[in-house]
């Protein structure tokens, strides 16, 4: 059980660190790109496809918005990682707790989109 716990802690550590690093790289690149473009402004409501296309072309606003989205999604991915980890360890009680938290986050996302 303890070995499983350490494995799960390791997964969560890398999920959080990975999300933060990707987000930081996107945010810093976005800010630098906007400084070079001479216009520090970004709209938060571009469709995801447009954002990805523009980010691939190193457009500052798109990189910045993507960075924020990655940052906001990181804690959700952490909940999913724990949900899967506890399911694999047959810790059904905590798997259900993680499922409840995930459901609340999805409700919040839907309320936000609405």
């Amino acid at each position: 059980m303890e070995q499983h716990q350490h494995r799960l802690e390791h997964w969560v550590h890398w999920t959080l660190l990975g999300g933060l690093l990707v987000s930081a790289v996107l945010l810093v690149s976005g800010m630098l790109a906007m400084l070079f473009e001479g216009e520090i402004s970004a709209s938060p409501h571009e469709p995801l496809g447009t954002l990805l296309w523009e980010a691939m072309h190193f457009r500052g606003p798109a990189l910045t918005v993507l960075g924020l989205l990655v940052l906001m999604i990181t804690p959700i991915v952490r909940v999913v990682v724990l949900l899967v980890g506890w399911a694999l360890d047959r810790q059904w009680r905590f798997m259900l707790v993680a499922l409840a938290v995930l459901a609340l986050l999805i409700i919040s996302l839907l309320l936000g989109v609405k």
Binding site: E2, V12, L20, L71, L82, S108
Partner: protein
């Protein structure tokens, strides 16, 4: 609205200052960042709260990744309490949509007063309720891991404390009280953009008998999910300004690293008390602004 390079620089420096103080005082920094954005940069309260919430996700994620690897953050307890914090954050975020900027500023100034008092008093650490040896003594002589788990309960945990040079093991007591405080903290986060760690840590320690280090790490672990629960509401409402938020977050991250280094050389207690006084001054200013209506 476009930002000038000077705006971006000021936002970066504000974020860095918040990150430094946050790392020294062990707080998310929302209580400092929001007044800077509202009073200093004249940002509408809802946008300041949204910026604070997203920057809190960044600091929480950075600190939690370390605490989880060290084993000080209790993930099972944190996830259980996140049900309450997420519910509180969603209701707080929805309530904020109905309130005017000045009403939020007034509520923020009221929330600062108990924050300042708790900050002034500092973290009072009671002796850990139980250690490995205490729990072993209460268990039958042939107690194996299953019995230890029984003594700890489903939410109890163990971590190694380098300062004490031994493992600290604890049971979690009075979970419903912990859930109630977590709901209020989540509500404050969703409504006012503050992490609520200053309320959660003493509550987890004094009510639920969680050692301070584990309480602080678990509280921080929960803040990311709590903040995200209301961040989507602010994002959908158009209160998030990406360029501005990005400038603040990059500052906060740089400041957090600098603060962690400075933390080794600065007496946290004096800074804590100075910060408590600053919070009272800020609370009076925010209240005046709210009552004046602009």
């Amino acid at each position: 609205m476009n930002l000038t390079i000077w705006h971006a620089a000021i936002l970066f420096i504000s974020g860095a200052g918040t990150g430094v103080l946050g790392a020294i005082l062990g707080i998310g920094g929302g209580v400092l960042l929001i007044p800077i954005l509202v009073i200093g940069l004249n940002l509408p309260m809802h946008e300041a709260v949204a910026t604070s919430i997203i920057s809190v996700i960044a600091t929480s994620t950075a600190v939690a990744s370390t605490n989880v690897e060290r084993g000080t953050a209790n993930m099972r307890l944190g996830m259980t309490l996140e049900i309450a914090t997420a519910l509180g954050a969603i209701s707080g975020g929805l309530t904020a949509r109905l309130l005017s900027s000045h009403a939020l500023e007034g509520l923020f100034s009221i929330a600062l007063a108990p924050t300042a008092i708790l900050m002034w008093r500092g973290r009072t650490e009671a002796a850990p309720r139980a250690t490995n040896s205490d729990l072993a003594a209460t268990a039958p002589p042939q107690a194996e891991r299953n019995d230890d788990n029984h003594a700890l309960g489903a939410l109890g945990a163990s971590y190694f404390d380098p300062a004490l040079r031994r493992a600290v093991t604890y049971r979690v007591e009075k979970l419903p009280l912990g859930m109630a405080v977590s709901f209020v903290a989540g509500n404050l986060s969703g409504l006012l953009g503050i992490g609520g760690g200053v309320f959660k840590v003493p509550a987890l320690h004094l009510l639920c008998q969680v050692p301070v280090k584990a309480a602080a790490a678990t509280s921080n672990f929960m803040i990311g999910v709590t903040a995200v629960a209301s961040a989507f509401l602010y994002y959908g409402n158009g209160n998030v300004r990406p360029a501005l938020t990005a400038a603040v977050i990059t500052g906060v991250l740089v400041g957090s690293v600098a603060g962690s280094v400075a933390n080794q050389y600065i007496g946290g207690r004096a800074v804590q008390r100075l910060f408590a006084v600053v919070l009272i001054v800020v609370a009076v200013q925010m209240l005046y602004r709210a009552l004046r209506g602009g």
